[in-house]
Symmetry: C2
Subunit: 765 residues, 2 copies
């Protein structure tokens, strides 16, 4: 192990230390009046009630999947480490969600209290609390990676075990005569699969959170605001606490788990691609295999340290204006990015990465910024698209919907072109033209680069819902109007950064999925080597099949396996991922379909859960006398309970579909079918997600634009049409759209983990 | 030339003869009262005014493209026949549109008059008029194919010309020493490109027609029905004639051109794939190359004859009920399909096609039926999905929209799974597992099979708008209510068959595009052979590069070209259509994006054109006194003019994007990028089209379901919400959705025609 690798555990622990520090310093602030404390307590209890139930359901799913994976390991179609890695990945992701929610729910009243002093004070509390979420996500993700890497390299794959083999409980952990190159491939492909735990947990967090937040929101709006005519966040509204809980559940826990997965997935996939390099291009380029594997982790570690620096750069004067605040945030995120650029140049200069990788990281960072800006352009009411929707609202709801859908569809072009240029650019920059594997490795680094500043970008993202909740707290605690104005200013700031954050989440999901798909092929290659039938019986673990024409010269420690003609045909068919393999093409169709069907399921789920909420709020208004007069307290907990139950019930089916479809396609259509499925899901899913996110965002802001007094303002026909648009947009932008991020990655992750099964089945039949 | 080939020109002329016969027999019917004649005259004039203007614009585009293609031919990157073939393809497609519209507009008053006698009489007039459209489409398409095939085989590629070469005006039409195998490849790839003419004309017909019909419809509805409160098809509504013209423009001319293109495209692509067989699998399977090329044409010819038989099978008793009528239609279409099955078995028995091809045709026919039935399930108010939308309408427009979108997205699964099974099934049935090229040939036959009964299925489709117009005529001419009831019954019957027809149109577009993409590779292969740089300079025309590993043994008349390493790399890179070529993957992303952006453009276009119409109708109500009292005649022609102008203006941009994007992608991203673009456009475009078609259809019928008295009936809140859904659905199902059929095919066609340019550019840089 190289000394510089120690930077990885160091940075991850540093992140956790600073998270602790920010949490403590946030907790030192006062929660304000008793009323404020009481409201915060309601939200906190609601959030924890949700998490408890959520983790119970997720826990059951994890136990079932753990058992399935263990059985697979027993039958030799699964790596024996995978079941445990699956658990740790899920556990840490869940822990981040818990800590982030805890922090956010502690912070809201404190932010409101801070805002009652000054805008800057409010920002400091909210932003530092957001930073807790950002830092625990990157900290735990990298800690998990570092721990596994150290365990596998230092304890499992010791020189003795590699020479004599390591068996335990009937399972072979290390086979006899493992070489250094094989070792790295085994280690990285094993670690890759722990992303599956993070993915599964993220799926439930995103889908469940998305359903929860929109059910509560729609219930609160439709009955409270529209039917009863009381304002937003009014304490008389029974669904108002659930609505505030929902902001945390969706935007803090859901977003955090989503990016945790992207973060871990991109690092692990790139490491796995790095491990494959030696066998392919090492001889030519003279790359140190250890460096190739650890480089993405080290880049991430540096990113963490520089994110912390960036967080401290977010400072303003006491008398800061809205514009100052935005600038302060931009200095923080921009500063981190710039420092990473310099650090990467240093790494390239000292030979830890190639200059090509340096460029790939820069391309990834730039792509994230461009997608974020494009999102801002298409969804902010300062620009033409959203203004146009508001204008169409004058003609009624139908034209509002049509125009919003058109804006959303049209808006896909910039993100898609950016991703395409990003993929091609990082591929060529990293040397893909001469060494294909280097190019793919470069694409992985573009994802790592985009996510390297996650510590601070997630902070700017997570502070939005905290400010939003602070506003709710201020409203319900009946604080003076200027407090609400300040929290609204923070909320608006949060909306700006959130738009960027959403583009960032989907952009990184695409690049991560891309890297994962490439890594999937490595996994498949490995499994073919393990179980393909050779000319003289089964191929043993030490052999490695090179089907591609790429230089089979440098395979230190591997021998090219001679397999019978029939096996070659199976292998070739499974590898034939050209368009003219009907399995691949069929997979493409199915992947595209999955994106649409999954979105349909999540949209329907929101509808059903919201319906139950609407009934409940109506019931409370009807049955509990004195709610509207303010003389009776509504049963907040009941609404929280209903949203929670609705989310749990509704998230299961789409989640199981996302998990099992890749397995089924793998079983019936082999590797080529799976690759098609993943590619179709990635490309159509990405486009559909951008469409849904941006249409939803644009409707939301078009409505707000009308509310500012344009086209007749509040209460006008245009406003009514705007509200219809906003309501349609809610599940678009907060449930279905973001859930697609996960679908794209999870299907790939499942395929990676199930590669052994898929390969075995494709060789058996 | 074999004698049995004469069946092809014979069947195509037979189709035209019967079309003439049906037209004449329809014209013998009375047009009814003077008022009926007058109204029919208005619609006819409007339709012809539209067509005149449309063909002028299309004509200009054709002249420009003709010049471009001619220049390309001059510089040797285009086959010299292509510019002329391009013109004939476009001309015949346009002629079909003209004749179909002429017939339909002559038929509407006659149908209304027939319906005033009996339901059956009305059906006979409308259906026989629809049959005219069906038969001219298949007749002219196959005539064009037969004429070119005869010209090329008998006049151009004569044994003398093949021996000595054929030059004219500096262009080489036949090179010296052409072999029989080369001849067939040259002929079929040349003919393939005349699909480009049909494609371009279809694009304008679909997009222009779709914009026209929806602009008129929205204008008539929003101002006439909603604002002025007058019923549908009321003569006081200035937009009512334009609305009736729109039915013809969109559903007759647009649909006809769309299917003309699929029909010609599938036959030509399959012929091209058949021509490539000899070089690849001939030696093994002992297939006669001439048979392989002409088989799809002969299947089509048999299909025409059996369609005519089917048309005569559509008969009912005078006292027929609605159910009898539907059964009569089903006997016609089902009978044709059954007869084709028997005929195909005969062809297989006598060795004209393999039994594998027989199964491929059956699979294609079955896939068409399944997709049609699925469309019916998801959009008819007899089933749960549409009823559910109507139920949601009680909660207001937002939930109506959300539920409709969810239904549309969810509904993609059956068509996608059917297409996937169809592709895989026809591939394997035709022998793709052992002979890859045979499998692809089989996929082509699935498309040919699905479209073989087009003569009659298009008749059942085109009769819908005729019945719809007859209803308008009856309403405006103030015929007794039972006449309108009967035409409504016919209209409803038309809606049922139209749902099936829409599924059929998109399904056949997918299979045709699939066959075209495969044929594209043949085109590319050919062009590489023509212009790739060899080790010793340019490769001459007689050489043919086999890059794939597939048996280069049987290349009679070709020699495997030895090209330098650099060229091999270029070639390999261009051919590398595996997922890991970033060009291919980038193309996939761009293809998916194209589907969304193109839909956005067409939706926006409808919005703008409809806005102009709304203004005009409002102006007439305001400025022309006495319209609403019925004392003044509105300026129908003005509305027709506005819709026409709007459609022409708005159709240009999306059309040009569809034509030029593949060229641009080809120039910058080479063959792999183009293939990715086509695959992404096909898979995402197909899914998106099904989504939009079905969501639109379901909203339409949900509204009608409410109007039948459910959930409060007409005038209720649910109805208002239903109207919003219907209005959103209009551009979905009548403009953007159907236009995607064309986008999918046209992008492929353009790529085929531009293959020479793409290959040249990819080798130059």
């Amino acid at each position: 192990m190289s000394n510089i690798f120690l930077l990885v555990p160091f940075a991850s622990i540093l992140a956790l230390v600073f998270a602790w520090f920010f949490f403590k310093s946030m907790m030192k602030n006062s929660e304000g009046t008793d009323r404020m404390k009481e409201i915060a307590q309601y939200v906190r209890e609601g959030a924890m009630a949700y998490l408890k139930r959520q983790y119970k359901v997720v826990g059951i799913v994890f136990v079932i999947l753990f058992i399935l994976l263990t059985i697979m390991a027993y039958f030799g179609v699964q790596n024996p480490f995978v079941p445990i890695a699956f658990l740790t990945g899920g556990f840490f992701s869940g822990l981040c969600g818990f800590l982030g929610m805890k922090t956010a729910t502690f912070a809201s009243a404190r932010t409101a209290h801070g805002a009652s002093k000054s805008l800057n004070k409010g920002l400091q509390v909210a932003f530092r609390s957001g930073a807790v979420m950002g830092l625990v996500v990157v900290g735990f993700a990298l800690l998990d990676i570092a721990a596994w890497y150290l365990l596998l390299t230092e304890v499992i794959f010791t020189p003795e075990h590699m020479a004599t083999g390591l068996h335990f409980a009937g399972l072979q952990f290390v086979h006899e005569g493992t070489t250094e190159t094989q070792k790295l491939i085994e280690i990285t492909t094993t670690m890759l699969t722990f992303g599956m735990g993070a993915s599964t947990q993220a799926l439930f967090a995103r889908v469940g959170g998305g359903i929860y937040t929109k059910a509560a929101d729609v219930g609160a709006d439709l009955v409270g605001k529209v039917e009863a005519g009381i304002p937003e966040d009014d304490p008389r509204n029974p669904a108002t606490i659930a609505d505030n809980v929902g902001d945390n559940v969706g935007d803090v826990a859901g977003m955090g788990a989503d990016l945790y997965e992207s973060y871990a997935g991109s690092i692990l996939a790139t490491a796995a691609l790095g491990a494959a390099l030696p066998a392919i291009v090492l001889s030519d380029l003279n790359i140190d295999p250890i460096k190739a594997v650890t480089a993405p982790m080290i880049v991430a570690a540096i990113g963490i340290i520089l994110s912390i620096v960036g967080i401290f750069m977010v400072r303003t004067k006491e008398s800061a204006t809205q514009k100052n605040l935005l600038n302060a945030l931009l200095i923080g995120t921009g500063g981190s990015s710039l420092l990473i650029l310099i650090a990467m140049a240093g790494m390239a200069y000292f030979g830890w990465v190639t200059w090509g990788v340096f460029w790939a990281v820069i391309i990834g960072l730039a792509a994230g910024v461009i997608i974020g800006q494009a999102t801002e352009y298409f969804t902010s009411d300062e620009y033409k698209p959203t203004k146009g929707i508001a204008e169409q609202a004058q003609q009624g709801p139908a034209t509002t919907i049509i125009d919003g859908l058109a804006v959303g569809m049209y808006s896909t072009w910039i993100p898609v072109v950016t991703i395409v240029l990003g993929i091609m650019g990082s591929f060529w920059a990293a040397g893909g033209a001469t060494h294909f594997a280097m190019g793919v490795y470069g694409i992985g680094f573009a994802a790592v680069g985009m996510l390297s500043t996650l510590g601070i970008t997630l902070a700017t993202d997570a502070f939005g819902p905290i400010a939003d909740n602070a506003g709710g707290n201020a409203e319900m605690a009946e604080l003076p109007p200027e407090v609400r104005e300040r929290t609204d200013a923070l909320d608006m700031l949060g909306n700006t950064t959130a738009a960027t954050g959403k583009g960032f989440a989907i952009g990184s999901a695409a690049l991560t999925a891309m890297a994962l798909i490439s890594a999937y092929m490595e996994e498949v290659r490995l499994w073919f080597g393990k179980i393909a039938k050779g000319g003289e019986g089964f191929i043993t673990k030490g052999e490695y099949i090179f089907y591609n024409d790429v230089a089979p010269a440098a395979q230190e420690g591997f021998k090219l396996v001679k397999i019978s003609t029939a096996s070659v045909k199976d292998l070739a068919a499974s590898y034939d991922i050209t368009l003219f393999n009907p399995l691949f093409l069929g997979g493409l169709f199915l992947g595209s379909m999955m994106a649409f069907v999954f979105s349909a399921m999540t949209m329907k789920a929101v509808g059903r859960a919201a319906g139950a909420m609407v009934d409940e709020v109506r019931r409370q208004f009807r049955e509990i006398k004195g709610i509207l007069e303010g003389t009776a307290v509504p049963e907040y907990a009941k609404c929280v309970e209903i949203s929670t139950r609705g989310a749990q019930r509704e998230m299961l089916l789409p989640s199981l579909v996302a998990i099992f479809v890749p397995v089924i396609v793998g079983a019936f259509m082999g590797v080529a079918g799976v690759i098609g499925l993943l590619a179709g899901g990635l490309t159509a899913g990405f486009t559909l997600a951008v469409f849904m996110n941006n249409a939803g965002g644009a409707w939301d802001n078009a409505k707000k634009y009308i509310e500012k007094g344009n086209f007749g303002g509040k209460g006008s026909e245009a406003h009514k049409a705007g509200v219809v648009g906003d309501t349609v947009g809610d599940p678009f932008k907060d449930t279905s759209g973001p859930s697609l991020n996960i679908l794209i990655k999870l299907m790939t992750m499942v395929s990676v983990v199930m590669a052994g099964l898929t390969v075995t089945l494709s060789l058996l039949f």
